[in-house]
Symmetry: C2
């Protein structure tokens, strides 16, 4: 039989090349040739693992989305498994740790956030990406929703808050912060975004 190359590994390797190109030069530059060169492969090799460019892009999008949400889900399970802290500051800290996985706070998360943003915007007019975008929306909604639930279940939350409404507001804030930090890193530093998130969470808890 022929040469053995783990196809799944190869596909992820190509996806990583897509990420680097998008991060450096934007999604518009993520042509098959540029991606192949970045991956150190020939054009024919890339096309051997992906029939279309569309298939490659959707795959890369899904990998990027999963990478972000899996990270957040890991932290989330820690939060949900342990007993809820009775202390407000401790609860805030635990929730912030989960949500911070969605923000571009370091190089790795920033790279993911950039790629994520470009794909989401592209999915608006690229019909081959709409399904992946829907799944992404559901995933972030689930993560943020579960964090809000933890906040609300504690007796520390400001009374009268509506969970769905606060989830909506929190998702908006996270998306906006992420966007600003990605587009204007000089004006929106990581510590600033981190602080803004925590201030917002603090405003949801009764003093």
């Amino acid at each position: 039989m022929p040469k053995i190359v783990n196809a799944d590994d190869r596909r992820e390797l190509v996806a990583d090349a897509v990420f680097r190109v998008v991060r450096e030069s934007g999604l518009a530059q993520a042509s098959l040739r540029n991606v192949a060169a970045e991956a150190g492969l020939a054009l024919g090799s890339v096309r051997h693992y992906f029939d279309n460019q569309a298939e490659l892009m959707e795959f890369a999008f899904r990998v990027s989305s999963e990478r972000i949400h899996l990270r957040a889900l890991e932290k989330l399970e820690v939060l949900e498994d342990e007993a809820l802290p009775a202390d407000g500051e401790a609860l805030l800290e635990k929730c912030a740790v989960v949500l911070e996985e969605l923000l571009p706070l370091d190089a790795a998360r920033s790279a993911d956030a950039v790629v994520h943003m470009e794909f989401m915007l592209d999915a608006r007019t690229n019909t081959t990406l709409v399904d992946a975008a829907q799944d992404d929306y559901r995933a972030t909604g689930a993560v943020v929703g579960r964090v809000v639930m933890q906040l609300m279940e504690s007796s520390l939350a400001v009374p009268g808050l509506v969970p769905v409404d606060e989830a909506e507001r929190l998702i908006g804030l996270l998306d906006g912060l992420s966007l600003r930090m990605v587009l204007q890193p000089a004006w929106a530093a990581p510590e600033q975004g981190q602080a803004t998130l925590r201030r917002h969470l603090a405003s949801l808890l009764a003093a």
Copy 2:
């Protein structure tokens, strides 16, 4: 002398064609040929008014940005000129009206927001757009900052709030809401965004 065509009008007409193409098919499809076809002009005509594609794009970006901020500034001056309402609800309403100009609440504002978003993201890797993006950032920062000032100057605001911090949080929320409403209009309806904004403003005012 020759045929009279107001050059500035023509440039804005072409810019409008850019907006329609971007709105329908994304910035990547805004080639000179597509834009010319959308404007009902020949390729050579478009190139007569813009030397480069880069020049056309920067012009369109600036027109889009100005259009949004001028609308908000109009409402803002009304707010600043009149006496501050002593009533919390009235103050909230006046501030909301200004900030709502930055959200895609109707077809016109949605079109502007889409174009704005695409250009901002493109400016990350397109060096010919970074200056325009900087100016845009300053403009929104000024509008939101002045609204926050109005809120803080009233005696109705929650004590202890830091204006700069609240402006940062508010800008983040606005950007995030805008992004969500643009990308997922089915899940983020105008009334919802409007309500979320007002809820946030309400949380800044003491009950």
